[in-house]
């Protein structure tokens, strides 16, 4: 029974609670046992079992009283990037050593206000900078998937930066998880673990209380086991927040209802620029399968062109580090976290930041500082922001021509091995985000949905990119793909 409870979707938990088939306390207890048994995956950096049990008791009373809220008794994992009052919040970095905020992020406040509880904080790449969850101060997360249906013993990465979120959801260590996406950090880990992940339109979800990486690109979203669950979670997470100056004051629709809309009359664009050199045959075949699934559901498939696609990744590696170098200036050993003494105040700053930041974070701060420094601003930063305008214009053009959503592969490969990329150049790791980064640069909603397994029996996903604030079409299309392709879960070995 215990294993069955942790395998239920958010929608099934909601229905089961309503029917009194089981209680939130039973569900939370089942998850706490599952967490204890899965320490080898390293998905959580802190757990909060007492709080989860107390919340479950309160939820039980509400359900009995008939006053259940939309996420009543749903146990979630929260990415370590979200400020949670009184609970470990370190962005998986050493520099935030011991930080426990006195405030709650808007998103977690909304989720808890809708009745959800928290099982703990999830591992991630340090400051969300990475594509494999190997840059965490707390060590790598291990993907619950293994090649050959579990017959291989080689540990795989769960993707990044939301690798704890994707691994925990895939391994049934939470019913759903919060995640964030600056260049693909929701969609790539979702793709590597056979889970569903959506990065909503920039401005949909409040950034208040989410540790900042690159403020013009950062967006939060859910990772879940089904499309419907992503719709349920996003509805609670999204919405206007006066505390975030770029939050959009636009009504949040019923995303769950949108999952049943179908594809009749929709025009789906297939961008030729996403057919990159050296793309594995399997990815190409998956993409063709996805086109057929949407076509069978009544969509019209249209070939389109997004000519500036190849420039999105290089432009991103100027814009994102530039914003990061500014955002991460606050970690100075004065206001929170680690302090390493020095002979004067400047050397205290320098020693603290040298000891507190990991290699990848330092590299990005350095690039960002360089491209913003005197004499280089125009050549790098200004040019990248102009290219960004052209990338956005590409999308505006196809949407103006009547395209409702765009279908692409989510990643150029399935999950790779832990340590496999350690000798590679940073650029090779950055190429993981080649299909996802364009949506961040243009601020568009985009979703990864599992669509099949590759020859190694590892999950592969497709990506849907939508018009601004039209997450509903993505949910409708993703549901069609999920219905046709089915769901994928790893064989338990841990």
């Amino acid at each position: 029974m215990t294993a069955e409870l942790t395998g239920l979707s958010i929608a099934a938990l909601r229905d089961g609670y309503a029917a009194k088939s089981f209680s939130p306390v039973e569900v939370v207890d089942a998850y706490i046992a599952a967490l204890d048994a899965a320490r080898d995956l390293n998905a959580y950096v802190a757990t909060t079992p007492d709080r989860a049990r107390a919340d479950a008791k309160a939820s039980e009373a509400r359900i009995a009283a008939g006053t259940a809220r939309p996420l009543e008794g749903i146990p979630l994992g929260i990415k370590d990037l979200f400020a949670t009052e009184g609970v470990h919040t370190q962005a998986a970095s050493h520099i935030l050593d011991g930080f426990k905020p006195f405030y709650e992020s808007t998103i977690t406040a909304r989720l808890f206000g809708d009745g959800a509880t928290m099982l703990g904080k999830l591992n991630m790449d340090e400051f969300a900078m990475g594509s494999s969850n190997e840059t965490s101060f707390y060590g790598p997360v291990v993907n619950p998937w293994r090649a050959g249906g579990g017959s291989s013993n080689a540990a795989l990465v769960p993707g990044g930066s939301s690798g704890g979120s994707s691994a925990a959801v895939a391994a049934n260590l939470c019913a759903g998880a919060t995640a964030t996406d600056t260049g693909g950090s929701i969609r790539q880990p979702a793709a590597f673990t056979g889970t569903v992940g959506i990065k909503p339109t920039y401005g949909r979800c409040s950034r208040w209380g989410v540790v900042a990486f690159a403020s013009s690109l950062d967006q939060a979203g859910p990772i879940t086991r089904t499309v419907r669950d992503a719709a349920i979670m996003l509805r609670s997470m999204a919405g206007f927040d006066p505390k975030d100056s770029t939050s959009a004051d636009i009504a949040v629709p019923d995303y769950e209802a949108a999952t049943g809309r179908g594809m009749k009359g929709k025009r789906i664009g297939i961008p030729k620029e996403y057919r990159v050199d050296g793309m594995p045959e399997e990815i190409e075949a998956l993409w063709a399968k996805g086109r057929a699934m949407l076509q069978d559901a009544g969509a019209e498939i249209v070939d389109i062109s997004l000519p500036h696609t190849k420039y999105a990744l290089p432009a991103y590696y100027i814009v994102a580090p530039a914003e990061a170098s500014s955002n991460l200036a606050r970690y100075d050993g004065v206001r929170y976290g680690l302090r390493v003494p020095g002979r004067d105040v400047t050397s205290m700053y320098e020693n603290t930041r040298a000891a507190g930041f990991g290699t990848e974070v330092k590299r990005r701060i350095m690039i960002g500082t360089y491209v913003l420094s005197a004499g280089y601003y125009d050549a790098y930063y200004l040019r990248a922001q102009k290219v960004r305008t052209l990338i956005k214009r590409d999308f505006e053009t196809v949407f103006a021509d009547g395209i409702d959503a765009i279908l692409t592969p989510a990643t150029p490969s399935s999950a790779f091995g832990v340590g496999e990329m350690s000798k590679a150049s940073p650029i090779e790791m950055y190429l993981n985000d080649i299909f996802t980064v364009t949506a961040n640069m243009a601020g568009l909603p985009a979703m990864a949905v599992p669509a099949g397994l590759d020859g190694k029996q590892l999950p592969l996903s497709l990506q849907l990119i939508g018009r601004p604030f039209d997450e509903e079409t993505l949910f409708a299309a993703a549901q069609v793909i999920e219905d046709a392709a089915g769901s994928f879960s790893p064989t338990r070995w841990w």
Binding site: P242, Y317, M348, Y349, T389, I427, A442
Partner: protein, 95 residues
């Protein structure tokens, strides 16, 4: 464009990150790899293109100029490594 070790050390100083000579060498090589990668942006004709300032057309909202929050020095300094009487303590800055 590429950077030399002197430039790496100057940028590290601007970023307030102490680096050893070995680290400076490693950073030099990875930074030059990234700078070579972003070089391809020079192929793009950006004449007359406005730089992006916001992905959505929006004007920053204004609020009334009034006190809406505050009087929580204990919380503000509650996570600091060293404090005294609601102030952050740092090494002596002015002699």
């Amino acid at each position: 464009m590429s950077v030399d070790t002197v430039t790496v050390k100057r940028v590290a100083r601007l970023a307030r990150i102490a680096v050893t000579d070995d680290e400076a060498e490693q950073l030099k090589s990875s930074l030059n790899g990234i700078l070579a990668f972003v070089e391809q942006l020079n192929e793009v004709d950006v004449d007359g293109v406005e730089p992006m300032t916001s992905v959505q057309p929006m004007r920053l909202r204004r609020r009334k100029d009034e006190v809406s929050d505050g009087f929580m020095a204990d919380k503000v300094t509650g996570n600091a490594p060293e404090t005294e009487d609601g102030f952050f303590l740092v090494p002596k800055v002015v002699e």
